[in-house]
């Protein structure tokens, strides 16, 4: 079967073998298990599916998960912007260390960050005790969930913005300056629009990651159904009761949300690159 389309490469050997192996491994590990998920859902009746997915407990978990993920991503969008800007444009002692540290949420196992955050923000924790007198619970509350999700999404915005800020053309800023624009005007009208695509991409990626997060959240959240139970935990809870169908149904909803989000990211990037003539991230 001649599936090779272009010219040169037919001379290099190994195409059939490597492609075959790659597809085989991919099917085994990824495709077949994933299709199992959808087949299981297809086996459910529509009313059964809907019943599970729209259950008050499930709805509460969506509200919490999406809400906290949104807050976390938003905080990261703002502060991540500041951090990326500072790391790229300014020099100060410890800059390189901080720059490397930004990847910590990627590198640190989620269970470790989970218990560390809980220790920090629980009522006796160093930070938790600052807020306890005011009745603000930074752990075992939706706020705690948001805090954990902020931690987990931190690198996405920063790492997406850094290359974009590095790409900023000094000429643009100088041109605006010579034309009489104030610093703030230059930022608002020249710099920020340039960085908007990367910011949005980083936000969406942090949001997507936060939606599915499990390990760093379940310690600090308290896991009270209807109050501080995230959707991933709901899935695990159903599994522990051998309610495979219920767990699968919720999983499908989460997957759909992730998929739509990824689509939105792609479309945004494409829209920006067609308008501005370059890719967003």
């Amino acid at each position: 079967m001649r599936i090779l389309t272009l010219k040169r490469s037919s001379i290099l050997p190994g195409f059939g073998l490597t492609l075959g192996l790659a597809v085989f491994y991919l099917s085994l590990i990824v495709l077949i298990p994933l299709s199992g998920l959808f087949l299981k859902t297809a086996a459910m009746s529509w009313s059964g599916f809907w019943h599970t997915v729209a259950d008050p407990r499930a709805l509460a978990s969506y509200r919490l998960t999406f809400g906290a993920a949104f807050v976390g991503a938003a905080v990261n969008a703002v502060f991540g912007f500041v951090v990326a800007w500072t790391l790229v444009r300014y020099r100060f002692p410890g800059r390189r260390l901080l720059d490397a540290a930004v990847d910590l949420p990627f590198a640190l196992p989620t269970a470790v960050s989970g218990i560390a955050l809980t220790a920090l923000y629980s009522q006796n924790g160093w930070i938790g005790r600052l807020f306890a007198p005011y009745g603000i619970k930074t752990a075992f509350s939706p706020l705690g969930v948001a805090i954990a999700l902020t931690f987990i999404g931190l690198p996405f915005v920063v790492r997406t913005l850094q290359p974009a800020i590095e790409d900023l053309d000094a000429g643009m800023e100088e041109a605006a300056h010579t034309l009489g624009a104030s610093r703030f005007q230059t930022f608002r009208q020249v710099i920020f629009p340039f960085l908007l695509p990367a910011t949005l991409t980083g936000f969406a990626m942090a949001f997507a990651r936060a939606l599915g997060e499990y390990g760093s959240v379940i310690f600090i959240s308290g896991n009270m159904p209807m109050r501080t139970e995230i959707s991933s935990l709901l899935i695990v809870a159903k599994l522990e009761q051998y309610d495979y169908a219920g767990a699968t149904a919720i999983a499908v909803v989460m997957l759909l949300a992730s998929f739509l989000l990824l689509l939105a990211i792609n479309l945004t990037q494409r829209w920006f690159s067609s308008r501005l003539g370059r890719s967003a991230a």
Binding site: K7, R8, S10, I11
Partner: protein, 363 residues
Amino acid sequence: MSIEARNISKTFGDFHALRNVTLKVNDGELVALLGPSGSGKTTLLRIIAGLEEADADPSSAILFHGEDVSASRAGQRRVGFVFQHYALFRNMTVFDNIAFGLRVRPRRQRPTESAIRKKVEELLHLIHLRELAPRFPSQLSGGQRQRVALARALAIEPRVLLLDEPFGALDAKVRHGLRRWLRRLHDEIHVTSLLVTHDQEEALEVADRVAVMRDGRIEQEGTPEEVYHRPNSEFVMDFMGNVNLFHGRIESGKAVFGSLVLDHAGAKVPDGQGARLFVRPFDLDISRQQNGLPGMKARVTRVQLAGAQVRIELSSESGETLQVEMPHSRFRERAVAPSDDVFVTLQDSRIFLEEQTHRGEVS
């Protein structure tokens, strides 16, 4: 070891890179494949090397010394291929690069390590880079890299040597030096070679024969002298060097270009047939008076004295720009200056009838 490419065609999607091309390189010859980009020369070279496959056709074949190698892979054909951008293995030293072809041979055919070392050292001596053996490609200049690439190709004792614009990426001075060096090398080792280039100077200087290509076909083949002085088409003449171009027509057996009238000995041509006159700058001369040779009036607009020859630009009566080249000694005799009115006379020229421009369709 002769090379013969028979009836080779190649299409990439809608693009016809080669149209039924046939080429023969005799044993020990150095042939240059010359042409503009898109003419198909590199494609043909790569097909001969086995790095591309020609379109399927029962009559097409690649023959090395009469033996059909179309079915064998690139590695089996024992061709030495030199790439335009060197393609040196950047993670290996110069020594290891040159030794590579010998080291990857199947165990039975592999020479001993000491035999390999001897061969590599011979080649390093040939290319005058013995001290650079332990260096990495990134530490070499462009000219040095290309010499290493050549040595690497020669290490496997190739039946034929194929060079793809080997000097294209180098500075002018290095290019000239390497050209001469390649010619000397070829005279020493006599490997059948095929060189692809878009630089007509290079082809003329280095090759025993030149094949000029255009749009996937060979327009003309011959010695450098033939191709330069007896081009069979406008394209070849124009490609091989600067020309002055005049438009005119044939009338009563004479070719008329404005005030220039030339005899046109040739096949019977109807009156009014359009024609074009091609004249090399050095085939034009300047004189103060008409002296019996065919010529036209013109006014000198510019004289460029800096250079190996003097370049004079003139404007003819009909407003065309003429370029004349002559040695400094002759210029001193002529003693013309800008704004002078002079006669421009022809020593030699080529006339192409208008239909001839399409007559490049030889294979």
